[in-house]
Symmetry: D2
Subunit: 278 residues, 4 copies
């Protein structure tokens, strides 16, 4: 398997895309002129922004389904809906191809260091074939199921859990802050005692600093992931009151123009509700 | 300062209390016959179940206020309301005594090992006087304010954050579990990646195992702390939607007889709402 | 305009559908063999269960778009998504046809009596053409906009408001019931004082009686409408915390097999959370 | 029973209170110089702002308990906590007096017209004695229990239901308003169809007009009532998610200085969350 051909972001016809590709090429990536070319060697990994982008690249005429050879493998690392993952699995199977869902955890700097965590699901032979690629991008791979969509569900649930951490820090800081305790000191107490996980440090600092730009992960993407988690939960009939609350937080943020802020900006809303000038 | 006189749990007249005291005495504690005796040397630490217990021991006739000498110090490590903490501070000041709020974080095994975290607030001289005691019970002390009640607010907010972790794990496990992913495997993924803090491991395991007995911290106490956090938030006018949700979870649990379960039992409710037989 | 041709439910090939049509025919309806036949006279009204049914009847090959003449009019009285309403408006405009969204309020008995309320939106001339039909099915028509989808939004918001009434009665009855006040007496107090609207009487009685079968309006349809209200709200970036809460109630109900119960069955969940045997 | 002596608002020593009393005296009320004087004839009705005011007037030295003769009757029409109602019942019983809880529904204009609804609870003989007074202030009396606190619970649950109506109208109007439908037209549709109860008209108009001053019932009192409903629900272990949501709405309003606005002002918050300039 060649790694140089990934990730595909559709045909990069525009100058803008070309400019974005240049630093990758400088690091050894190989640009391709078409999806067909990317698929020629029988394996392709996609890591795209949302369901629409993936649908377009995979299912459209001349897309991955059309281009992959029989027995070829598509590794989908995008954070997409459980429903689309299932549709892709079906479409690839129909075309005699293999499909692995392999979403990843890690912010951009972690990805750059090849230290992502990979959550993978698919048939045993497809997973075996994909392993070298997982090793290239991640520090560890967790296989959760033979059914690809299970990996997408785990990924969505993980982002849900992170968003809960953000919201909970936002509320706790709004409370102790209005009670006279400094946000940074408070965060220091939390993270040097029970809440030592890096996400508390990372997001806690962003919230304490009210520093939501530039976005490591945009609020609009966070909102999308909560929507997908809620959609999966609805399909499975699992009420998720915390996710419902997060949904409303993201909509409030975006109703006030916050699409491009880091998703941790929802962590500032509790303080606004508590009267902080904004 | 003598440490042997703590903690007070009121006059231990009953046999039951005597039996509870025996192992402590065997380890070097000294039993006292009255609050007055406990206070004689000028310093006393209380660690009691709730506001009522503290009020009774401190404010009643023959209680700590009556018994401590002028300049004496009362260190309150109970998880009590912000309002009572303020009332105690006022009462001690009026009596010419010093008051330090010093609630602690840590489950019973951590306390036994002297590895608690202490969050302390009070006047500089009172904190200085209390430091040897903090060192005896805890691994680290955080001073957050000169106003005692600020420490209680931090403690309550910390328990709120833990309860949010419990609820979020409950919801996430209900979701992925119904989607076919094993709860224990899922927890392993979480805790070996982004959610490495011990609380995720500890509570995640209890929830995955549905093992809510014996209680490390009873649901009724958890409910009390959420109530106190909400009361403090109301006083400060800070809306806390997550705490409101937790409140309803605890009431649901207790309406079904769950008072004595570990508070992580609220982490099993999402799965029940999703149809799991209970 | 002929009224006899409505409502279409697709080609009634099956015996079952034929049997369902017979009583209508006995009352003067005319059965048609195809959508094309129903559309021949230039006007058609659809009242179907959900987006999929409407999409299929309108947009498929040989559907309403294909069958209506230029200048023909499609009156859509189904409770469908705002997004589909917009898509239908666009498709009909492209085909030189007119489209009116005209959802209705009223349970089956009200519809049978021709006493529905019609909420309509569309171009002035299309609304004028549809008026005789509105008069036939309803007691009053409210024109809300020239843009069809606005009528669908009003309909969804109306069902949302009804569901809130159901949930609020469920919570209030759980509270006073556990406090020793009879549910029926309580309902009598409410409806003879401030809550005199028929919906309080209708749904209050169902909840007080715990009589959720047969369904006047199935829980699965209620859940669908809340989903569509949330989807419209998401598109418009309007947080709706009450709708989020209703969403979770419906999922809880359906996770326990309640799809076919009357949607007022969510009004029984608060009492279950409060410990009522169920 | 003399009606002229009610309602007591404590000793009106201040000029301000005297000025407030004058118009009542002009209409035939008789001013009294002390609680003792008001209680002399054996019956007294109190209608005060909150628990503290009632506690003070009833339980303090020289208060109603001290002043009423044996067999005397205290009719409490204040909206107070279930817990205080129980405490008052106990205290009066101990003093050989009778206690009736008789909270009322109706805004000030309704009260002025003697058209309140009275919800009463107490022993049969006490209720019989109070009936002439109920007839004087209200258009109808509902007896709900022999236990006084049950009437207070009904009252609190009623205010909870009204607040839910306010919130639901606020959310629905935020939704359709952002979707292009006029708030006033929308309200007209609602109130001339399914939502014909006066509360929808009254509060809907205030929300549509964003007219929250002067307050018919202040937000701070609304918040208090939701708090008391939640406290009663906690005691009974009844989760009330809608009440929790209302709690947070009131705190948000009051955190922004809204104490003195009409409580329907929480109906403007959904639109603010949706981005409306405020």
């Amino acid at each position: 398997m060649r790694h140089g051909c990934e990730p595909i972001e559709g045909r990069s016809r525009s100058d803008r895309r070309q400019r974005k590709a240049e630093p990758l090429i400088a690091q050894g990536a190989r640009a391709v002129a078409s999806i067909a070319e990317a698929c020629r060697e029988g394996a392709v990994l996609t890591m795209l922004a949302n369901d629409n982008a993936v649908e377009s690249v995979v299912l459209r005429k001349g897309g991955i389904i059309d281009s992959l050879p029989k027995g070829g493998i598509h590794i989908s690392s995008s954070t997409i809906s459980v429903a689309l993952s299932e549709a892709l699995a079906t479409a690839h199977a129909k075309a005699g191809q293999r499909f692995v869902a392999a979403p990843v955890f890690g912010r951009p700097d972690v990805a750059a260091a090849g230290q992502l965590f990979v959550v993978a699901a698919g048939s045993a032979d497809a997973l075996a074939a994909a392993t070298p690629l997982f090793d290239a991008i991640g520090q560890k791979t967790f296989v959760v199921s033979e059914t690809p969509k299970a990996a997408n569900l785990v990924k969505l649930s993980g982002n849900f859990l992170i968003a809960v951490v953000i919201e909970s820090l936002g509320e706790a800081m709004a409370l102790v802050g209005k009670g006279g305790v400094g946000r940074h000191q408070y965060l220091d107490i939390l993270t040097s005692t029970l809440f030592s996980a890096p996400i508390y440090k990372t997001y806690g600092a962003l919230i304490a600093d009210r520093k939501f730009l530039p976005a490591g992960f945009a609020a609009s993407l966070g909102q999308k992931d909560i929507r997908l988690a809620l959609a999966a939960a609805e399909e499975l009939r699992v009420p998720l009151p915390l996710a419902s609350l997060l949904r409303d937080r993201f909509l409030t943020l975006m109703a006030h123009g916050g699409d491009e802020l880091d998703w941790s900006a929802i962590g500032g809303l509790a303080a606004k509700d508590a009267g902080e000038e904004g």
